[in-house]
Amino acid sequence: MLKLDEIQKRLLSEVAGLHEVPEGAYNIRSDSESAGRASTANIDIIPREDGKGLTVKVKSGTKNESVHIPVVMTKSGLKEVVYNDFYIGEDADIIIVAGCGIDNCGPKDSEHDGIHRFYLEKGAKVKYVEKHYGSGSGTGKRILNPGTEVYLKENSSMEMEMVQIKGVDDTNRTTTAELDKGAKLVVRERLMTHGDQKATSNYVVSLNGEGASADLVSRSVAKNTSYQKFDAKLVGNAACSGHTECDSIIMDEGKILAVPALEANDVDAALVHEAAIGKIAGDQIIKLMTLGLTEQEAEEQIINGFLK
């Protein structure tokens, strides 16, 4: 069964909040091998034959169950591309917790590219949580390039919470979604970059069916000399509603490029975008200083709150 060293356990706790073997279905991938796997009566986790990923099948009507598929990497120089496909049956309602933690103490780059595809049948409901975390003092970079494809059939819904707060040097995130009639997509992305990190996030969400809706909100903080790009495109192909918001705090010599885009191909498509980039307001710091916080403590509180 599970054999993890202390670093692997710490990464697992950072990305999935796990201290023990999770309940329900799970697969823990550690340094390119499965460190433990379990299916349940309703959720089947099947490894791909080439060893590069999983197929997860959730039976129709499955309720209140969870799937944990965290990845931890502790060997410097490891590079992998993993394909995980999720088939969610009609009216199922489940939570999927993914996430990747890289600890790189060596000189070589470590890279995990996770390609996730979600196929939700009619009325299915998924809450997806993905956390990225990097640590280690090596000169090798910690690189994560997640690719996500979401296919939402009639009246299905997916809520995605994506968090990357610390230690990942290079990220290129690509997310595409196709929504049928009445389907709903909610995305909450939180990102903080520091040092000379680079993070780009690209979304293309196509609202193809009547009553489809999408709400994409990204909150980010760019510190030091880091660079972020947020590129979100909503395409309205029917009577639908879409909202995208990019709200960023810029600090030091950070750079942020926000590229919200809307494309309406139907007269009844209602699409809205908002984007704001700015430094921490001086008054916010002063207010917290009048409560006895130092300038640095005030800054930390403001950022913690913003990314909460």
């Binding site: 009048t290 130092t294 913003f306």
Partner: protein
Amino acid sequence: MLELKNVSFQVEEDGSNIEIIRDISLVIPDNKLVVITGPNGGGKSTLARLIAGIEKPTSGQILLDGEDITEMSITDRARKGIGFAFQQPVRFKGIQVLDLIRLATGKNNLSTAQACDYLSAVGLCAREYIDRELNSSLSGGELKRIEIATVLAKASRLSVFDEPEAGIDLWSFGNLIQVFEGMQKTINGSSILIISHQERILNIADDVIILKDGRLAAHGKRQEILPELLDSASATMPCRQNGVSKGDGQEC
């Protein structure tokens, strides 16, 4: 006790120096409620900001309980016991009312029930507000009351309020006055400094200070200052007499 000795403050504008505060010396004794009033642009808010450390005087000294705090940072002054309520409270995305009250008390483990007491004191239904974010979903009036609650929670030796009545038209003045009276009772030896135009707030002052053109135009007991002030004000600003603020409550 707070003491200002010959405090002046200048700013540079278009190459010339403008004096905002001119050679002010005064004492705010312990256990006193002091109201600073006077015409707009007279330097009231600047004086409050000088006391909180948000601005530093060009010359002169500020002493708290005999200690020179003139060069002290905002943080150090706050830790020494100075509280400050902004005229226009600040919004924070993501920070919740409970977070801010905890920061104000300096107690991370302050219970929700204890935090709610401060909100109730400013007339807010605590349960509805405690988890709210301090963002644009709150009205100016709600933010103002939360601002007052944070200063209440900080329980300072000297609490400075910059126009606390502005924007809280819907909340009765009686409650606001109760907040000040309660603070004096519960915080031992504390003094309160309020910048206000409102007659009802002037009516609860022990001492009244009038600032005009950056100078101390008058300073004394309320009973001595107020009659004279109201006589001169009634000619120009009738709204002061009935204690109602207009519009957004910024000024009569």
